[in-house]
């Protein structure tokens, strides 16, 4: 309860400072909108459905692209951890592309796929897949070999060993890899949406972009808040349960807030 009070006090203070800055009248509302006008934008755009529609479009792109990225990245990373050939080839490719900021894929995606959903998905997948491969690969390499040895003596081989030993043993690393992949997917999608107009769907990035074009700062800040909330919610819904399970089972007591 005490912690909750601290949190409320902290954010209350920020909003109060914001409101005082607006009330001082030093900045025009075009530069610094008041908290009330941002709230008003959020309320009215929720009512007319434009915010919700954009959120649905963006989250759908994000989820589909992310899931494809993970579905490719996890197995490739696991295989790379066990095969020197794959590690030397696909592994070094992944290492190289992981350093490439994913917004750099946007020009290529536009030329290959045009202003389409496919281009958006492509950017998200490219943002996700390499970091998932790297994290999974490193994770699976750091599994103590004793687990495999013990499993082998009990008759666990091949597919059974992959699914019952290597996969669960690397779970902590997989989750952190997937979390990292999620962060990259989210960033690359926002960059792509702000950068490119897609006719088939109007996402949060576009709302942000047009907020700037229309000098509607309350829209820009409102959409930014929505983006933050989606990021936090994803962390809570997608990853926190896993992390809690891992901390309980493995006994790694990283205190989660």
């Amino acid at each position: 309860m005490k912690r909750a009070t601290h949190i409320v006090l902290f954010f209350g203070t920020i909003i109060l400072i914001w409101w005082l800055a607006v009330a001082s009248g030093r900045w025009s509302p075009v530069i610094l909108p008041s908290p009330a006008s941002v709230a008003d934008y959020l309320w009215s755009s929720t009512l007319d459905g434009s915010l919700l529609d954009a959120t649905v479009v963006t989250v759908r792109r994000l989820l589909v692209g992310y899931l494809i990225g993970v579905a490719i990245g996890l197995p490739v990373g696991l295989i790379a951890s066990r095969s020197q050939l794959i590690e030397d080839t696909v592994g070094s490719l992944a290492l190289g592309f992981q350093t490439l900021p994913s917004v750099c894929w946007v020009p290529l995606a536009l030329i290959w796929f045009g202003q389409t959903e496919t281009a958006m998905l492509f950017v998200v997948i490219m943002g996700t897949v390499w970091s998932v491969i790297i994290a999974t690969d490193h994770g699976a390499r750091s599994i103590p070999p004793i687990f495999s040895r013990a499993a082998r003596t009990m008759g666990s081989e091949g597919f059974h060993q992959w699914t019952r030993v290597i996969l669960p043993a690397s779970l902590p690393f997989l989750v952190s890899g997937m979390k990292q992949g999620w962060a990259f997917a989210w960033r690359s999608l926002m960059a792509a949406e702000i950068y490119v107009t897609i006719l088939t769907g109007f996402g949060l990035g576009h709302l942000l972009h047009y907020g700037r074009e229309l000098n509607a700062m309350e829209q820009v800040i409102g959409v930014m808040l929505v983006i933050v909330v989606i990021g936090l919610a994803a962390d809570r819904v997608l990853f926190s349960p896993w992390e809690r399970f891992l901390h309980r089972r493995w006994g790694t007591n990283l205190q989660q807030s």
Binding site: I146, F147, R149, A150, A151, R152, T153, M154, G155, S156, H160, R164, V165, P168, A169, L171, R248, R249, W250, G251
Partner: protein, 276 residues
């Protein structure tokens, strides 16, 4: 809960005509092993031959680096020898087999499973059991090592001794004929170890399993083994053997055992000095 006998009756392998009174369970024939690490070649094992009878408790004793763990790995089928072979029930060992389970110095329990899940791991790989039978056997063995109350505990919540007990239950549950133990109690405190000496002797005499137990502790070997085989390093080879005929259950702190251990340790020291 239905109680299952610890050792289901199984057809005995046909008796081999051998000089020993008991049929040999494990035969090690001329095992030689080199480790090639960069520039240095280490001659780990040199032409090791050994016979282990059915139901025998044999302790391999030697200083660290004498190749005893390597020899155990080769018996388990986890490591390949450069020359020679290991026969289990007359069949050459080429890979790990369910009839020869290994207990390692570290518990090697799977942290993603509970204690119960760990004991179930090997049982789930036995196709001849129904799920109900598997669960019953797992409970049975957790009770055998005195941990049925901790069945659903996470591994990190158990003490070192409890972890090794779970590991013991895990290797016993699938009912292997041979247990290969690689200094399983070395990392435990003395009191826990003394308890486990009692447990392992009781389990061995009730189940009639063949046990090969590797240790660097002569006293431990004399306490547990029917036969203590000394190994010497550089390259690893077999030295003298001692038959231990003290009555069981043996107490590691008894004076008779201490005296015998002292004699054995002296022989080990001699052999170590001779190989230098």
């Amino acid at each position: 809960m239905m109680r299952l006998p610890l050792v289901p009756a199984r057809p005995q392998p046909p008796a081999q005509p051998r000089s020993r009174s008991r049929a040999a369970k494990l035969v090690v024939e001329g095992i030689t092993k080199w480790y090639r690490t960069g520039a240095a070649n280490v001659h780990a094992l040199d032409d090791i031959s050994l016979e282990i009878g059915n139901g025998e408790f044999v302790c391999l004793v030697g200083a660290s680096g004498c190749g005893k763990s390597t020899l155990l790995d080769i018996m388990a089928g986890l490591t390949k020898a450069d020359a020679g072979r290991v026969l289990a029930d007359g069949e050459p060992v080429v890979r790990p087999g369910r009839q020869r389970l290994v207990m390692f110095q570290e518990p090697a329990l799977f942290p993603w499973l509970t204690a119960f899940g760990n004991v179930m791991f090997g049982l789930k790989l036995r196709d001849d059991l129904s799920n109900r039978e598997r669960r019953e056997i797992a409970w049975e063995h957790l009770a055998l090592v005195g941990l049925d109350e901790f069945a659903y505990a996470n591994i990190h919540e158990l003490s070192g001794g409890m972890k090794q007990r779970v590991a013991l239950a895990r290797v016993l549950a699938p009912d292997p004929q041979v247990l290969l133990m690689d200094e399983p109690f070395a990392a435990l405190d003395a009191m826990t170890r003394d308890q486990l000496y009692g447990d392992i002797q009781r389990i061995w005499s009730e189940s009639g399993k063949t046990i090969v137990f590797v240790t660097h502790d002569v006293r431990e070997a004399v306490c547990l083994g029917d036969r203590v085989v000394l190994m010497s390093p550089r390259p690893g080879h077999i030295g003298r053997e001692f038959k231990i005929s003290l009555p069981r259950p043996r107490d590691i702190n008894s004076p008779a055992l201490a005296e015998l251990a002292a004699q054995t340790a002296a022989a080990l020291k001699e052999a170590g000095a001779a190989s230098r």
